[in-house]
């Protein structure tokens, strides 16, 4: 049990370092167990350093920085234990244009081997869609769905690597 956990932890920590570098170029992020000797009782802390800043504690991060750290962690977990599909509801609301671009790069790299269902109001997020699904509310108070095949792009869903 301990070995299985430690191997998952190391894998997710590695993924987190990589994803963090993509989302915060020049920064460094890693996951730290508060008690190395007793991993199954330990807590998990984030140890992050954003370019130019010395602060490491989470509460001092800005709204957009918090979103990026959380996304970095989640995608690190997703990469270590792939799931057939992921659902993300307006996760990019707090991001500025530059960070939105970085997130979209991450989503596109994921989208080539996993299915993503992303809810968004952002035009640039719509542009990376393979399929756009429009939802509207009819007069009668009932939701309706319209589907639009955005890209003919042949999607070779490679097997989960």
């Amino acid at each position: 049990m301990k070995e299985v956990f430690l191997s998952a932890y190391r894998d997710i920590d590695n993924n987190f370092r990589e994803t963090f570098e993509l989302l915060f170029p020049g920064g460094r992020g890693s996951l730290v167990l508060t008690d190395q000797d007793n991993p199954l009782e330990a807590g998990l802390e984030f140890d992050i350093s954003i370019p130019g800043k010395t602060l490491r504690r989470l509460p001092l991060l800005s709204g957009g920085e918090r979103s990026l750290v959380a996304l970095g962690f989640l995608f690190a977990v997703f990469r270590s234990r792939p799931s057939p599909f992921y659902v993300l509801d307006e996760v990019e609301a707090a991001l500025d244009d530059l960070n939105l671009s970085r997130l979209l790069v991450l989503l596109e790299s994921f989208g080539s081997h996993a299915q993503l269902i992303v809810i968004s109001h952002q035009k640039r997020t719509m542009e990376i869609a393979n399929r756009l699904i429009g939802v509207s509310m009819a007069e009668s108070g009932s939701s309706k769905v319209v589907i639009e095949n955005l890209k003919a792009r042949q999607l070779t869903l490679s097997s989960q690597d």
Partner: protein, 165 residues
């Protein structure tokens, strides 16, 4: 494996039968405020067995049943079906597609079906866990809940690693 389609009837704002066909890859759901986008997320979470109304932004489970609109009455029941592609046999069933259904009526009757046959939640949960589908895997991030992982206690964050190991 991927999510092929989702059918809803009488679930939250989806009074009429609606079916959404998803593509492998990136699906982006768009629409005005209040049109029903997050209700689709709730439907996916509900059909996979979510037990707490609060996780569906509801006070009690009955709140997921269509409560009526300005020109139509409330629905008596709610039904959601999710169809998963199983070509790679990730779900240990000898079927190319797997359909999971959940229904609930105002009279309190509720249940699950696997490919049209009644089944228990516990059988379903085991099946889904093997394929890393479902609630415990953090694979569904609902609106406004992205930061939750950062505010969680350090010991709860460890559990996320345990779930994934």
């Amino acid at each position: 494996m991927y999510l092929k389609s989702l059918s809803l009837r009488g679930f939250k704002s989806f009074a009429d039968s609606s079916t959404i066909e998803f593509a492998p890859g990136i699906n982006v759901v768009v629409g005005p405020n209040g049109s029903g986008k997050s209700n689709i997320v709730d439907a996916i979470s509900w059909v996979l067995g979510t037990q707490t109304p609060k996780a569906l932004r509801s006070a009690k489970m009955e709140d997921v049943i269509f409560a009526g609109g300005q020109s139509r009455g409330a629905a008596k029941s709610s039904k959601v079906t999710i169809v998963l592609d199983n070509a790679e046999r990730r779900l240990s069933l000898e079927l190319a597609e797997v359909a999971i259904t959940r229904h609930l009526s105002r009279s309190g009757e509720s249940g699950y079906e696997l490919n049209g046959r009644d089944c228990r939640l516990i059988d379903l949960s085991e099946l889904l866990l093997d394929a890393s589908i479902g609630r415990g895997q953090h694979t569904i991030i609902s609106q406004g809940n992205l930061d939750v992982i950062l505010d969680a206690k350090a010991s709860d964050r460890r559990l996320t690693i345990e779930d994934a190991s």
